[in-house]
């Protein structure tokens, strides 16, 4: 079996092919799946997040690493499930009503998947009713609301209100993100948390589900 630090580097470098090959090799060699995730893969994504935060990495690097991580997790997850390990948490994510921008939301979704969350992406221009429906269906720990347009930001508090009216607000944590959003605004409208970018979303989500 090759040195597992190569798995860490493959994810850090966004090398999906190498990541998959190393993961398969490690599993075939009898490595513990959970150990692979916690000792090599998750730390690589943490480092990716740090490099993005200090702006040595930009979106392309972030996406390549998240794709590599996602591919490896797809190999490992069935084994984890079989051993009784749960995902970090369940997430429903979407862009709010009236706003069809989905690039930022997709980035956050892939980072959360790379961070070990089970993600239900319900798309863009999602009405408050559809968010309520998705929460009923998937029973998530977190609901992530994305908004890029200033003119449709008001749909964020309306969605939170709809969750309240449906009696679901207390069963989930609501996280908000998007270009015009600030932490203060997110808290003012009754969200539980705010992420400044896709990399920040992962530690925030982990904190919110008590797994930081």
């Amino acid at each position: 079996m090759s040195d597992l630090s190569e798995l860490y580097l493959a994810i850090l470098n966004g090398d999906t092919k190498g990541t998959l090959a190393l993961t398969k090799e490690a599993l075939a060699g009898g490595a513990d799946p959970l150990d692979l995730v916690t000792r090599y893969m998750a730390p690589a994504m943490t480092e990716v997040g740090r490099l993005f935060e200090c702006e040595e990495y930009f979106v392309p690097e972030l996406m390549r690493s998240a794709q590599a991580m996602k591919g490896a997790l797809e190999l490992i997850r069935p084994l984890l499930t079989a051993s009784g390990a749960e995902p970090a948490g369940r997430v429903v994510i979407g862009t709010v009503k009236g706003d069809r921008h989905d690039i930022g939301k997709n980035l956050v979704a892939s980072m959360l998947e790379g961070g070990g969350f089970e993600v239900y992406d319900i798309g863009a221009d999602v009405s408050p009713e559809k968010f309520v429906q998705a929460v009923r269906q998937h029973n998530p720990d977190l609901v992530c609301l994305s908004t890029l347009l200033t003119v449709t930001m008001r749909a964020v508090p309306l969605t939170i209100q709809a969750l309240k009216d449906a009696g679901l607000r207390d069963s989930v944590r609501v996280l908000v993100g998007g270009a015009p959003v600030t932490e203060q605004w997110a808290l003012d409208i009754g969200a539980d948390g705010y992420g400044a970018n896709a990399a920040a979303a992962v530690p925030l989500a982990r904190r919110m589900v008590g797994k930081a």
Binding site: E55, Y57, F58, V59, P60, E61, M63, R64, K97, G98, D99, R100, H101, D102, I103, N106, S110, A124, D125, L149, T150, V151, T152, M153, R154, P157, P180, T182, Q184, W185, D188, I189
Partner: protein
Amino acid sequence: MTELDQLMAGGPVVTDGAWGTQLYARGLPPGDVPDSWNLTHPDRVEEVGRAYVEAGSQVILTNTLLASRLMLAGYGLAEQTVEINRAGAAISRRAGQGRARVFASMGPSGKMLLAGDVTEDQLLEAFREQARALAEGGADALLIETMSDLGEATLAVRAAAETGLPVVACMVFDSGKGKDRTLMGTTPEDAAQALEAAGASVVGANCGSGVAGYVAVCRRMHSASRRPIWIKANAGLPELVDGVARYRMTAEEFAGYVPALVEAGASFIGGCCGTGPEHVRAIVAALSQGRP
């Protein structure tokens, strides 16, 4: 002498300000795509263009930023792509009244090459369709703007250049420590060179994190490329007032950056988010002060 050279012969050219916010102010419902108004409310779109011409714009854009087939598909308007673009160019021509040139706007597709949302061929085809329709509608030049991905931007430049019209290409620099990189991490120098190589006659920057930071971006693009530089910056950063984003920078404050932009090599100057006709008037005034 090309038409662009003639236009620039009198010194820096004044372009226009934002269109979307002007249309929302005229009743466009939040969440509707502004470009659809080219077919449903052409009179109000023309008003925006006229207001800029009255304010002194020598170049006005078109209400077609989001009118590629790929973007319009998200609004159920894909089948009206050609019509919306032709109408957009024709409306701005009417608004220009022969006093302002029409540089037709082409924005991002909303799809990411890197994520595999779309292929290069699909992007090329979508930009070709939009560029042709804008040319048919009477555009004097095509403007690739608000781009975050250099790969997508260069494809758009290639597609636009096939019409034979001059092409202006600009990107958004709002990321990195100095807010001087694109979302994808590209520097002003790399962007200027790649856009020029792809066939752009003018290169530059629009939108972003405010006009102050675009002075340095302008200087860097100017030093990296032989092409004239186009700058259309936001009026600072928005502040949230009662949950709504507002740009607090006044037209005079905005125009205060005009001498620095000219010194940094800008040949085309206008505004993006948070700017209107009053900003254009202030730019005109600032430029006339610098002339004998």
